[in-house]
C-alpha cells in the first residue's frame, strides 16, 4: 500500500522524466538541435511555473483563481508604462510586483469582506483586468503595443537569470508551504474548513496570505514576461491563466486542495506541458492534432495520478 501511494505521489515526476527522455530521443532521431529547444522550453515554462507556484497556495485552500493570466498582463503593462516614463528597470520590477500584489489583495478582500465565492470574484476580476489591459495599451502605448526597448532588458534575458528567479521564488514558497504554520494551516483549511475554523484558524486571514504570496509570483511572472518579450500587446500572457490551471493539475495537485497539495506540482506541471508541446513541434504535428494529443495525455496522466476512486457518488 505504501509503495502504491509513493508511486502515485511521484507519478507526475515520472511523467516529466518520461517526457524529457522522449524529447531527447525524438530530437536525436529527427536530428534536431535539442539545446535550442531546451531554451525554448525554459522560456515557455518559467513564467507559468512562477505564477503557478504561487497559485498553489490558493488552490490548497480549495479556491480557484481564473484571473491570474490577466493579472500578469496588467502588471506587465503597468510596469512597461513605468519604464517608458522613468527608464528604470528597478522601478519597472517594483511596479510589476506591487500591481500584482494589489490586484491579488483586492481579490481576497472582495471575497473575504463581502463573502463572495473566490472563483466568482476572480471571474469578475478577469473581465475588469482584460478591459484594463486594453485601456493601458491605449493610454500608455500606441493603442496596440507598449514597447520596452530590448536593450533595457537584454542583459536579463538569459536562462540563468530566469531559472534563478524561479529557483529563488520556489525555495521561498517551499519554505513557507512545508516548514511554517502557513502551509500546514492552509492544507487544514482546504481539507476541512469547518474543523479548521473551529480550531481557531481564520479562513480570511489565510486567504489574504495566499493571495499575497500568489500576487508576488504573478509580479515576478510579469517581469519575466517583459524580459522575454519586451513588446507588450493584448496577447501578452494571454495563455498564462489557463496554462497555470493545467500545470498545477498536471503536476499532481488535487483541485480540491487540502493535505495532498504539493508545492512542487506547479513546476513539474509547467515543465511537463512545455516538453509535451515541444515534442509535438518536433513531430511536426498539426496544431489541432497536437492539442488533441496534449489533451489526451493530460487526462490520462491526471487519471493515473488520482489513484483509486472508491466513492459511491460522482466527484463535484
Amino acid at each position: 500500500m505504501k509503495v502504491k501511494n509513493l508511486l502515485l505521489n511521484i507519478a507526475p515526476l515520472i511523467g516529466l522524466l518520461i517526457l524529457i527522455a522522449g524529447y531527447f530521443v525524438i530530437g536525436r532521431i529527427n536530428d534536431i538541435n535539442v539545446a535550442y529547444g531546451l531554451k525554448t522550453i525554459v522560456n515557455q515554462s518559467v513564467v507559468v511555473a512562477v505564477v503557478a507556484t504561487g497559485a498553489v497556495f490558493i488552490y490548497t485552500l480549495g479556491a480557484f483563481d481564473i484571473s491570474l493570466g490577466a493579472s500578469t498582463a496588467v502588471s506587465a503593462l503597468m510596469a512597461g508604462i513605468v519604464y517608458l516614463k522613468t527608464e528604470s528597470v528597478g522601478l519597472m520590477f517594483l511596479t510589476a510586483v506591487c500591481v500584482a500584489v494589489l490586484v491579488s489583495l483586492l481579490n481576497s478582500v472582495l471575497a473575504g469582506v463581502f463573502h463572495l465565492p473566490v472563483f466568482v470574484t476572480t471571474i469578475a476580476m478577469l473581465s475588469v483586468l482584460n478591459a484594463l489591459a486594453l485601456l493601458l495599451l491605449n493610454l500608455g502605448g500606441t493603442g496596440s503595443e507598449i514597447k520596452v526597448p530590448q536593450a533595457a532588458v537584454k542583459s536579463l534575458d538569459t536562462l540563468w537569470f530566469k531559472l534563478l528567479v524561479l529557483g529563488a521564488y520556489f525555495l521561498f514558497c517551499f519554505f513557507l508551504f512545508d516548514f511554517t504554520p502557513i502551509g500546514r494551516r492552509q492544507k487544514f483549511l482546504g481539507g476541512n474548513p469547518l474543523c479548521a475554523k473551529l480550531t481557531g484558524i481564520s479562513l480570511n486571514r489565510y486567504s489574504v496570505i495566499a493571495f499575497v504570496i500568489c500576487g508576488l509570483g504573478v509580479g515576478l511572472g510579469a517581469f519575466l514576461s517583459i524580459v522575454y518579450a519586451p513588446t507588450l500587446t493584448r496577447n501578452t500572457a494571454s495563455s498564462v491563466g489557463m496554462d497555470v490551471i493545467i500545470a498545477i493539475v498536471f503536476g499532481g495537485m488535487p483541485v480540491s486542495g487540502g493535505a495532498r497539495s504539493r508545492i512542487y506540482a506547479a513546476v513539474i506541471g509547467a515543465f511537463s506541458m512545455s516538453f509535451l508541446s515541444q515534442i509535438m513541434v518536433m513531430l511536426n504535428l498539426n496544431s489541432g492534432v497536437g492539442q488533441m494529443v496534449k489533451a489526451a495525455i493530460f487526462l490520462l496522466v491526471v487519471f493515473i495520478a488520482a489513484g483509486e476512486r472508491k466513492m459511491k457518488t460522482l466527484p463535484r
Binding site: 466568482v120 476580476m125 475588469v128 482584460n130 483541485v255 489541432g288 489533451a295 489526451a296 466527484p315
Partner: protein, 332 residues
C-alpha cells in the same frame, strides 16, 4: 425562500422587479444621451439574437454548475458542433433547418462524450472539462485545417437570422427546459441530486445516467448557440488554447439574476429575463458606441455589486430586524 408562502403579488413583483429596474435604467441612459434603443429592425434582431444565445448558454452552464460541476467545455461544444453541422450542410446542400438539427445532434453527442469521460474517469468535472475543451478545440481545428468555415454566400443558411426565428428558438427552448426539469422523473431526480447527492444515491437514484443526460442536454443547447453564432456571421473562426471559453463568461450575470428571480417564480424564466437584461445592456453599449473595455468593466461591476447584494442580503434583513426591535423597545 419558499415560493408557496409568497402571495401572488409578491411573486410577480419579485420576478419583474430586476428586469423593470434594469430596462428603466437602460432607457433612461439612452434618453439622456439622445439615443433610441430599438430604432430599426436590426436592433430588434440583435436584441433577440443576444437574448437567445445568452439564455441558452445560461441554461447550459447552470445545468451542471448548479450541481457543482463546473464545465469549461461548453464553448468548445458550440464551436465543434457548428463546424460539423456547417461542413455537412455545405456538403449535402442542406437548408438552415437541417443545419440546426445536425447542430443539436452533434452537440448532444459531444455532451455525451464529455459526460462519459467524467463518469468513467471519476475525475473532478473541472479537470475533465479542461481536457475536453482542448480536445474539441483541436478537433474543430483539424476538421477545417485551421481555416474555419465560411458560408457567407449561402443564402439558405445565412437567411435564418430574423426576429421571428429567434423568438421561436427562445420559446421552444424555454418550454422544453421547463418540461424536462420541472415535469419529468429526470427533473425530479436532478433536483434531488442537486440538494442531497449522497442521500439521493442511497435512496436509489441513479446518478450516472442523470449526470450524462445533463451533459447531453447542455451539449444540445450549446449546439444551438453554435448554430445561432455561425448563421449570424456566415463564418466560424477557429480557437485553440482555450480560446473558446469566452462564451461561458457571458452567462454568469444572467445566471445569478435568474437564480434570484427563481426564488419568486421559475429559475428558467429567470434565465430568460437575465438573458434579456444582458442583451439590453449589450444593445445599449452598441447604441452609445461605448468602448469595449469600458463595457467589460461596467458589466463586471454590475456582476460584483449584484453578487455582493446576494451574498449579504441576510445581513440586511438582520439589520432591519435589529432596527425594528430597537424601535419597539423605545416605544415599549
Amino acid at each position: 425562500m419558499n415560493r408557496g408562502r409568497l402571495s401572488l403579488g409578491k411573486r410577480i413583483f419579485g420576478t419583474l422587479a430586476i428586469p423593470l429596474i434594469a430596462f428603466g435604467i437602460i432607457f433612461l441612459v439612452c434618453a439622456v444621451r439622445g439615443v433610441v434603443l430599438f430604432e430599426t429592425t436590426r436592433n430588434w434582431m440583435a436584441f433577440f439574437r443576444a437574448t437567445a444565445s445568452v439564455m441558452l448558454t445560461t441554461f447550459a452552464l447552470s445545468i451542471n454548475l448548479n450541481s457543482g460541476r463546473f464545465d469549461f467545455s461548453i464553448g468548445s461544444v458550440a464551436l465543434l458542433s457548428s463546424v460539423i453541422s456547417s461542413t455537412l450542410a455545405l456538403w449535402l446542400d442542406l437548408p438552415a433547418g437541417g443545419m440546426l438539427l445536425i447542430c443539436i445532434l452533434s452537440g448532444t453527442v459531444l455532451g455525451c462524450i464529455s459526460g462519459g469521460i467524467y463518469v468513467i474517469s471519476k475525475l473532478p468535472p473541472i479537470i475533465v472539462s479542461l481536457g475536453v475543451t482542448l480536445l474539441f478545440e483541436g478537433a474543430a481545428f483539424v476538421l477545417t485545417d485551421g481555416y474555419g468555415v465560411s458560408f457567407v454566400t449561402k443564402a439558405k443558411l445565412t437567411g435564418f437570422p430574423g426576429v421571428r426565428n429567434y423568438l421561436l428558438v427562445i420559446l421552444v427552448a424555454l418550454a422544453i427546459m421547463i418540461l424536462i426539469f420541472d415535469h419529468t422523473k429526470f427533473g425530479y431526480e436532478y433536483k434531488a441530486l442537486l440538494s442531497g447527492q449522497s442521500v439521493s444515491v442511497n435512496m436509489g437514484i441513479r446518478e450516472i445516467p442523470n449526470a450524462i443526460a445533463c451533459y447531453m442536454i447542455a451539449g444540445s443547447l450549446m449546439g444551438v448557440v453554435g448554430f445561432l453564432s455561425a448563421t449570424n456571421t456566415g463564418t466560424i473562426q477557429m480557437a485553440l488554447n482555450f480560446g473558446s471559453i469566452g462564451v461561458m463568461f457571458t452567462a454568469f450575470l444572467p445566471m445569478f439574476i435568474g437564480g434570484f428571480i427563481g426564488r419568486f417564480s421559475n429559475d428558467k424564466l429567470g434565465y430568460l429575463l437575465g438573458g434579456m437584461i444582458a442583451a439590453g445592456i449589450s444593445l445599449m453599449y452598441a447604441k452609445l458606441q461605448m468602448d469595449s473595455s469600458v463595457q467589460q468593466i461596467v458589466t463586471a461591476l454590475i456582476l460584483v455589486v449584484f453578487l455582493i447584494y446576494l451574498n449579504n442580503e441576510n445581513k440586511l434583513v438582520e439589520l432591519r430586524m435589529l432596527k425594528a426591535r430597537k424601535t419597539a423597545k423605545h416605544r415599549g
